[in-house]
């Protein structure tokens, strides 16, 4: 069994609006799948459904062969299903390294410790600093998040997701808001992801998508309108009309 994440016929609406319309998709070990589509297509909602923030009205989600459709979001995280947020969600008053330490401690089941601060845990500090160094955030380690630039916060968002050691990683527009001068850090981080990890990447940056993805799924008005390789993408008429026709 190579399939890590298997989604079948997922449906969801907000009021009368069909936001997820019978979506099925499948991520195998080592897959690099890009999910694209115009704004409001329902990409973030799909991630919310997979991660367990929303309940689907019908359909099923299974993770490593286990049905997780009704499972709590936090339990899915423990199984290795990790997401990042399109709109950065960080702790404004905590330092950059605090975030990493918290994630590491939580991953290891040590977040309930009530006495020893992580500052006295060299192994946690080392891992956190290494994770930061990979995105060249280490000079900011002791800065409070509210005081660093938005692009740096976006990078921290990625660093947190990675340090949780995902098996399936859902990245919601990780490159949005990162200045082009820092894009190489994101590209390098994505290139260096563990090979066996399954990744679903949402992004509007087509250069990044072409470079990273082996499979592309296009979502429009909640439904999958294209599946294929990045090369097939440009010539597909439905994709053109989704991006140009309806929006124009």
């Amino acid at each position: 069994m190579d399939t890590l994440l298997d989604i079948r016929n997922l449906k969801m609406n907000f009021g009368g609006l069909k936001v997820t319309d019978d979506v099925s998709l499948n991520l195998a070990k080592g897959s690099r799948t890009a999910l694209i589509g115009p704004n409001g297509a329902g990409k973030t909602t799909l991630i919310n459904l997979i991660a367990g923030a929303y309940r689907p009205t019908s359909g099923s989600i299974s993770l490593m062969g286990q049905d997780v459709t009704g499972m709590k979001d936090t339990d899915r995280v423990r199984l290795g299903l990790i997401r990042s947020f399109q709109i950065t969600r960080l702790f404004p008053d905590l330092t950059v390294i605090d975030h990493l330490a918290m994630a590491i401690l939580q991953r290891e089941g040590r977040s309930a410790g009530m006495f020893k601060s992580y500052h006295r845990m060299p192994e946690v500090l080392d891992e956190a600093m290494e994770a930061l160094a990979r995105l060249r955030l280490d000079p900011l380690a002791n800065r409070v998040v509210a005081q660093i630039a938005y692009g740096q916060q976006r990078l921290l968002e990625i660093a947190i997701a990675l340090v949780l050691k995902p098996k399936v990683l859902l990245l919601d527009e990780p490159a949005a808001g990162i200045p082009s001068s820092d894009m190489d850090r994101v590209v390098a981080a994505l290139d260096n992801l563990p090979a066996e990890l399954a990744v679903l990447l949402i992004d509007h940056d087509m250069d990044l998508v072409r470079r990273f993805a082996r499979e592309v799924i296009v979502l429009s008005s909640g439904a999958v309108i294209f599946r294929g390789t990045p090369e097939q993408l440009g010539s597909d008429p439905r994709v053109r009309s989704a991006y140009l026709g309806e929006d124009a």
């Binding site: 991660a51 923030a53 709590k72 979001d73 936090t74 995280v77 423990r78 990790i82 997401r83 947020f85 969600r89 960080l90 702790f91 404004p92 008053d93 905590l94 390294i97 605090d98 330490a101 918290m102 994630a103 401690l105 939580q106 991953r107 040590r110 977040s111 309930a112 410790g113 009530m114 006495f115 020893k116 601060s117 992580y118 500052h119 006295r120 060299p122 500090l125 080392d126 956190a128 600093m129 290494e130 160094a133 280490d138 380690a141 002791n142 947190i160 949780l164």
Partner: protein
């Protein structure tokens, strides 16, 4: 890599340790100073110390974890009445009474946390208020064990460690209270910095992010509520042991609201702020309210408005700002 992380991280720990040390010394200095300056006010000082435990305990759930509550006297009252009732029924060892009160507070903390954490925002506030009112009514009606509106008076307490009598001047009670507060304050500072405390601070700032890390918000906060209950219950028991009286006001909406006011006045989230807020506020109240309760209300009201407008981080924040100016 190891060298890199350590050069950056170690200053942080020593800085924290230094702050704790300064804080502990300040508490001790103020305590000892008060003992010699106001020998006739020791029982009032002891009550301040007891209430400061309630305010610190409130800081854990409100300042650190972000749960808005106007009913935290529930845990304080639980501790006070547990100690009082145990004492009436023959338990007279002061430390045992403190322990019993703390455990009752812990239980009350778990119960109130379990309910309050089901709500959010306004409903959280309302559940907390309803709980403390319910408890207050319950205590009032169960007069066969609680003494009803008269409360419990004239508790007999054995000498501390079998040696130090609880004297008329309240010296023993004062030193006991000061020691308890000192130890608790330092322990709570450590708790707030621990992985668990950091998680609670994270929940305060963004619970969605915490969930995305895989941590359960409800269970984490419930644990914090238990600890907070323990500390608040200890405060209530301390007041019972020190004054040998337990009254209905220990489990009232008014006490809860006052505790919140003192906390925000002192500055939330740093434990020491809670202490400072309690001390300054109660002292101020003690001196002004004797004149006229309505003058007192006007003064406190204006003070609160000024704090919100000009010093949202309370006394602790103000002092912190002074120090930062010096460093720059």
């Amino acid at each position: 890599m190891t060298a890199l992380s350590q050069t950056r991280a170690i200053p942080a720990t020593t800085r924290h340790g230094l702050r704790d040390l300064i804080g502990a010394c300040a508490i001790l200095a103020v305590g000892v100073g008060c003992f010699f300056l106001f020998p006739n006010n020791l029982s009032f000082l002891t009550i301040i110390l007891s209430i400061s435990l309630l305010v610190m305990s409130l800081d854990l759930v409100t300042g650190v974890s972000g749960v808005a509550t106007l009913g935290h006297a529930f845990v304080y009252g639980a501790g006070a009445y547990a100690a009082g009732i145990a004492s009436v029924n023959g338990v007279s060892d002061p430390l045992l009474l403190l322990l019993l009160g703390s455990l009752a507070g812990l239980l009350a903390g778990v119960v109130s946390g379990a309910l309050i954490l089901k709500g959010h925002g306004l409903s959280q506030l309302v559940i907390s208020i309803a709980l403390v009112q319910l408890a207050s009514e319950g205590v009032n009606k169960a007069s066969f064990v609680t003494g009803g509106s008269d409360g419990l008076a004239g508790l007999t307490i054995d000498p501390l460690f079998g040696i130090f009598e609880f004297d008329l001047w309240g010296r023993t009670a004062f030193w006991l209270a000061l020691a308890v507060v000192l130890v608790v304050a330092v322990l709570l500072r450590i708790l707030v910095r621990s992985p668990f405390g950091m998680m609670c601070r994270g929940i305060h700032q963004d619970r969605v992010r915490v969930r995305a890390m895989g941590a359960s918000v409800y269970l984490t906060l419930l644990k914090m509520y238990a600890i907070s209950g323990f500390v608040g219950g200890l405060g209530g028991a301390l007041q019972a042991v020190a004054t040998q009286v337990v009254g209905l006001d220990s489990v009232s909406f008014t006490t809860s609201a006052e505790a919140l006011v003192m906390l925000i006045f002192g500055g939330t989230g740093h434990i020491f702020g809670a202490l400072a807020g309690t001390f300054v506020f109660m002292w101020f109240e003690h001196s002004v309210s004797a004149a006229s309760p309505f003058h007192w209300l006007i003064l406190v009201g204006i003070l609160l408005i000024l704090v919100v407008l000009f010093a949202p981080k309370g006394i602790y924040g103000l002092v912190g700002r002074l120090f930062q100016h010096k460093e720059v």
